[in-house]
Symmetry: none
């Protein structure tokens, strides 16, 4: 499989990684309909941990079956599929080699009263990633939460082990908890800070939410205003996030959030594309639609990243 | 021992497991009077940890002897016998090869003041399971409790080790603690969430309690009502639980709870059968009756799962 | 599965073994048409290592396929199937739980010039036995050969590890090499010595060849003659071998040797039965016949051990 | 990447392997111009160890550079590239993700006076394979040599470790040494025996030389003649080798041997194809030609396996 | 590279260290324009963790790129570059061997509500330092804070491991938290105490802030006044800090603090030089200026330590 010039350029940024880890990044970047473009669309399905089964799948009951998601990601020509241990195990042999896998190592939980910003359990091991043939591990951090420090130490160890065994690291960076206001979780300064922290921790791929134009922290607001950091349009804000990801030296993808209208999804994707982001990680907006609708939506999403829409 | 088509189908769902683990699942599925049907009745005896000896056995003093339970499970033609380390050790040689064993790794405790939802001690090892000839380990989690995260990390490590050594994993998933109301522990949404979490954690066999028609969490209620998820009859609710177990790709059995009338036990079993559940795990309702009554009850239970009653 | 009184008696001889190992012995003793009788017929297929593929399978080409042997052992209702790593791997998932497996850890080799009595390579690990779901490991020793001491040390370590993990040990004991004459390999004194050595090494199941009435060693001959040890009939000689196996406290099975006429096979089996041996381990005489002929032969063999022929 | 039905069928044969190992086999089977057909052409470059640099590369000095071979394999659309540690390290980052890699773990050596059939040093580790992103390890055995037993024990351990970490095993099986005549190394009986041994040892992919119609061992000759095993044409002999590889349940590829005329190379490939072999592993006949000639030769080779020539 | 007499003298102070650790100290002391003088200027860039990306880099956007800082440190002829895991990884190969690296193991964080004096996460490992080719690890302690004891135990382990592997330890010692007043953080007695604690903990290089003439602790004030410890001029105070660093037997460098006017920076440096300190560790005052201005400032700084300004 000849890598494109663009993929080779991206791989060159991960200069301290061993060839095994680079090969797994290459697998993700060369997979599917966006393979070779440097753009990514990833299907993540860890809502089950976060919201329980009915809230995740009742609107599309076929999605109770873990095979459904593997097949959706493959049929839509996506770049990778991310899920916790159990669902990956349930299809890893049937779909071995069919799509790059990201083993989600920890997950949020709405059954606990320790909700916002609380720690997460680490529910899988790097050795699980090896035996299931995963290209990457995925890990969520909550910058700003009281659990943050513990999480950073967990991903330090998991990531160090993964890198030594040729497996890439994806960090989901979601600010919350502590003194951060609900609105502030999406504020540009906080989101950029969160993305930057993932980069500082050594992530290969960074996942954050799309930021609003709000500014949360006083010290940061002064800087944003003094330097007139553009933040009016979503594309401008995406561009700022890519700066926070080592000036574009780290892949950054954006999550779609709760299920919403198709047009909003497309608009987000155009802004990500125009702002220089690397793509979307789109869960509920994909699997909470019927398979037919999801394939249509993902098709258009891919076409947007192909500059065809 | 020729496996039935049904058992082969069930084994095919555990596609990432090594043949050793599959063989142990097969042993459970082919054992006893329900062998080959895909249905299971398991005898669990861990009340001693949970309620102490007198509350567990005074009503049937023969049951103070660990051999009693082995013999009961064998004579009733059950699928497996589950117990903590001590009782298994006390009979494992006498009954070696006579019935598949599940080594219960942790257990609740009513002597501690840390009762509801508190953590449990892990009182056995995977190597104990090997030396005692067990087919599976059993582990209780308390979704919703503050101890949940620690429990998930414990079972992650135990299950990873067990899977590598060809031993299956049974997870008892009992919501409790945190903000969950007493009534909510059995609410359909919470029970389905608990079953789903066990599946996400990589369980081969999931054990939950039978759910009521209640709904506990506001966000979930909206979904259940919006999508009209059927929950009037117990069979409908069982069916929903099987959806939460990867749409039926994971074995799910239901516990009988506290000792109660025979008719209630039979009614439960019929609902489990009609809703597509895989069977019962029935402790107190078996060993807290006289041996004669217990055998009669278990006989009828088996016949229900055989579609004869 | 209720063990028979006879199987419980046999298990009682293995009094230092942990319940896991006893359970695996019980699985072999309770399997198939002879299950529960204390008699065994085992299908071993390691001729590929010893004689190469064509000499092993050309007369029945279906047998080139490893699934063939699993299916043959199951369909004939045998007690266990023994083979090296590769063939077991090739069917271990399809037939998981369908028949007890013995992982042959070393094998002879006719491609080497170091033929008779030379060492063998150990080509599998106890951990392989666990992941493949095997009930026992199998190991060949060459009493009398120059390699004997090294082999004894190998099986010491393998057997110790297997016993700690609940896996039984079968020793193939074939005298050869050193000063033993070709004829002497089957001599009663040498064969009894070989069986005894396997017992001394801690084997749970001992496999030897059927002895002739010859006596090889001068010192031994004096004793056999002085004490008039009966050795005229094959049954008498089998009886003497069982004495060498701790007076019957260890299971001993006899190999059939090269393919030969059916009547000879039956005659051997009757002698083994009448002499108190535990059964046959019959490879070439099974798989080097057509499936139909093999099933007929194995059926009759089983019936002989059932005292029906 | 949707796997073809043929590749899925082939993967189903490796039923005891974890999904990680299956994914790596899938990567090899889906790569390059033959991706998805079940046919393979592999470029191996370990002549440096075996014959030294000048004998290997003087006829095409560009081939002194390890990048040359990576690029050749990629540009020719081959299935995988196999080499020892040093050359893989020299290009693994530049070509990360561009072609599946096989880390050759041991190699022959013509500088030693211990030439024919002597042992080989193991010059790499499974952890090297992980950090370099290799899909498989490769290992050479010399069936018949006095070093055979030691080699079997080495590959047992390497293969067990590789399988647990999701990496496939390729065994080069070259009979030599001991009492095997020079001519006998290629004799059909010996070659089939060698292929069978690799399968018995648990290889996923078996590499042997193309056999002649000769028969080396007296005992084998009787069988080949008695059963009229067809061996006149090369295709017939290839077919026999696939039988020896578990009746086609293991991938088998054939080496081209010393550099020779193009027509001979094509003739070999047609016979491999017609006899049901899985492909060629072609080293000297590729890299000892000019790049232009090699690409032309490999193009035609691929077309033959595509049934276009 | 011949070490100067001065550098040899400094190395002689680290007499319990192994030659590997000494060699890494020598690399730092011999690097750049101050190489050989015993003076150091270090560029630290861990503001991203502490203040987020915009507050750190918006005033000089080129500094979002981790390569910028490597290049700045090299072009300015500095002694070492210090940063957290992610930014070091992003340039460690491009600049391998170009400048000594200090891997910052923990970092402060202004997104957390647990701000002042709270613990920090340890976000890198000594093995990361080895694989990235770092000469030292860097670690921040907060003497006086409630987290102090935990931090001391963390650096105990990290430093022990680093020393055993030949890597030096730099401790950033910043008093804060507990009962220390905001003003007291820079008080001479407290700053000297903090420097001394770093020395007591086994640091090779100690980093503190420049002290004021204030005295914070009553018991200390009595002593300072009784003994007339000179503290009027900054140079006198620096001299007192070097006393606290084992009377000059440990290298001590001073941080510049927040960005400020050039003249203030130069004045500080002259005081450090005149007081016998070893140099400056200057972050924001370097990278928050344009590259041109930063190079001019650093040039003058170096010249001051060269006694040329």
């Amino acid at each position: 499989m000849k890598l494109t010039r663009r993929v080779k350029e991206i791989l060159s940024w991960y200069e301290s990684d061993n060839p095994g880890t680079k090969a797994n990044l290459a697998r993700i970047l060369m997979e599917g309909r966006l393979g070779g473009t440097g753009k990514l669309v990833i299907l993540p399905v860890d809502q089950g941990f976060e919201h329980g089964p009915a809230r995740s799948f009742a609107m599309n009951p076929a999605a109770y079956d873990p095979h459904y998601h593997y097949q959706l990601a493959i049929d839509a020509g996506l770049s990778a599929y991310a899920a916790p241990l159990g669902p990956l195990e349930a299809g890893a042999a049937t779909f071995a080699g069919s799509i790059p896998l990201i083993l989600k190592m920890n997950s949020a939980n709405s059954l606990s009263r320790l909700k916002e910003g609380a720690d997460q359990a680490v529910t899988a091991s790097v050795d699980d990633a090896l035996r299931l043939g995963c290209s990457a591990i995925g890990f969520t951090i909550y910058p700003g939460s009281d659990a943050m420090f513990g999480q950073y130490e967990e991903i330090r160890e998991l990531s160090r082990e993964a890198k030594s065994k040729g497996i890439a690291t994806v960090i989901w960076s979601y600010p919350r908890g502590g003194d951060i206001s609900k609105k502030g979780e999406l504020a540009l300064d906080v989101d950029a800070y969160a993305a930057h922290m993932a980069a500082l921790l050594g992530a290969h791929i960074i996942k954050v939410k799309l930021p609003t134009a709000d500014l949360e922290q006083d010290e940061a607001r002064k800087i944003y205003e003094k330097h007139n950091i553009p933040r009016e349009t979503l594309a401008e804000r995406v561009k700022h996030i890519t700066q926070a990801c080592f000036n574009g030296r780290r892949i950054v993808v954006f999550s779609g959030g709760a299920a919403k209208g198709e047009d909003a999804v497309y608009e987000d994707a155009r802004a990500i594309r125009d702002g220089g982001g690397n793509g979307s990680i789109i869960g509920r907006n994909a699997f909470q639609r019927s398979r037919e609708d999801a394939l249509a939506l993902l098709d258009k999403l891919v076409r947007i990243y192909q500059n065809k829409e």
